[in-house]
Amino acid sequence: MSRKIRWTGAALGFLGITGTLVLHWMVFFWVPTERTMGVVQRIFYIHVPSAWVAFMAFGVVAVCGAVYLWLKDDRLDAAGVAAAEGGMIFTTIVLLTGPLWGRVAWGTWWTWEPRLTLTLLLWFIYLGYFLVRASTDNPQRGKRFAAVVGIVGALDIPLIHVSVQFFRSLHPAPVVLKPEGPSLDPGMLATLFVGLGSFTLLFFGFFLFRYGVERMKEGLIHRELTGGSFPGTEGAAS
C-alpha cells in the first residue's frame, strides 16, 4: 500500500474517531431529549448518519462500476469493492438500529412498509454484488457482473428516499432534506451534522485502507502469475 494512501486513511480515520467522540458527548450529555419518543430517539444520531454513509458508499460503487465497464481499470474495481463492503456494514447498522428504535416508537420490531423493505432489498442486492464476484472462475467476468449489480443496486437509493412521500409509511418523513428546510431543533440538527461528518470521515478512512488491501491482493495474484512486480504495490512490505 502506498504511503500516501496509508497516511491519508489514518488521518481521515483519526478525524472520524475524534468527531465520533464529540458526537457521543453531544448525544449523551448535550442534545435535548425528544418530547414524544424520549431517549430512544437518540438512536437517530447513528441511524441517519449510517444510512447517509451507506447510500454514499453504494453511490461510489455505482460510479466506479460504470467507469470500470468503460475503462476496464482494476483500480476502479478495487474502489468499488472497498466501498461496497463499507456500504454493507453501514446498511447492516441501519437495519439493526432501526428496529430497536421502531420497537419503542411504533411498538413493533419490523413492518413491511416501503422504506424498510427497500432498504432490506438494497442490503440483499449488494450481498449479491459479492456473490456474483465470487461465483465465476474468470475474475474479469466476475468484476464486470459485479459492476452491473452495483449500478442496478444504486437505483434503489432514490426509491428509498422518496418512498415515505409517495407511499403510506410508518417511517418518519425527511426532517432535513425537504424543500421548506430542516424542521429539527437546532441542537438536534447540530448533533446530526456532527454525526454525518464524523461517519463520513470514518468511512473514507477505512475505505482507503480497504482499497489498499484490495490493490495489494491483486498485486500478489499478478506476481504469482507473472513473477514480476505490480504497479501500485511498491513499498507494500515497508
Binding site: 439493526l96 430497536l100 500478489l220
Partner: protein, 76 residues
Amino acid sequence: MRTRTLTVLVLVALVLLLPGALGAQGGMPATQGLAGQSLRGYTHMFIAYFIAWALVLGWVVSIARRLGRVEKALKE
C-alpha cells in the same frame, strides 16, 4: 473461526432476546409509566450504539487482519 461465529451468534441472540426478556420479567409492564418507558428506551438505545460500534470495530479488525496477511505474503 468457530469462536468468532459463536461470538456473533451470542451477540445476535442477546440483541434479539434482551428487550423481550426484560418485558417478560416485568421490566416493561403492558401499562407503562413514564419511568418504565425511559428505562426501555435506554436499553434499546445502548444496544443500538453497541451494535453500531461492534460492526464498525469488526470491519476495522477485519481490514487490519487482511492487510497484515497480504503484507506478509508480499514480503515472502
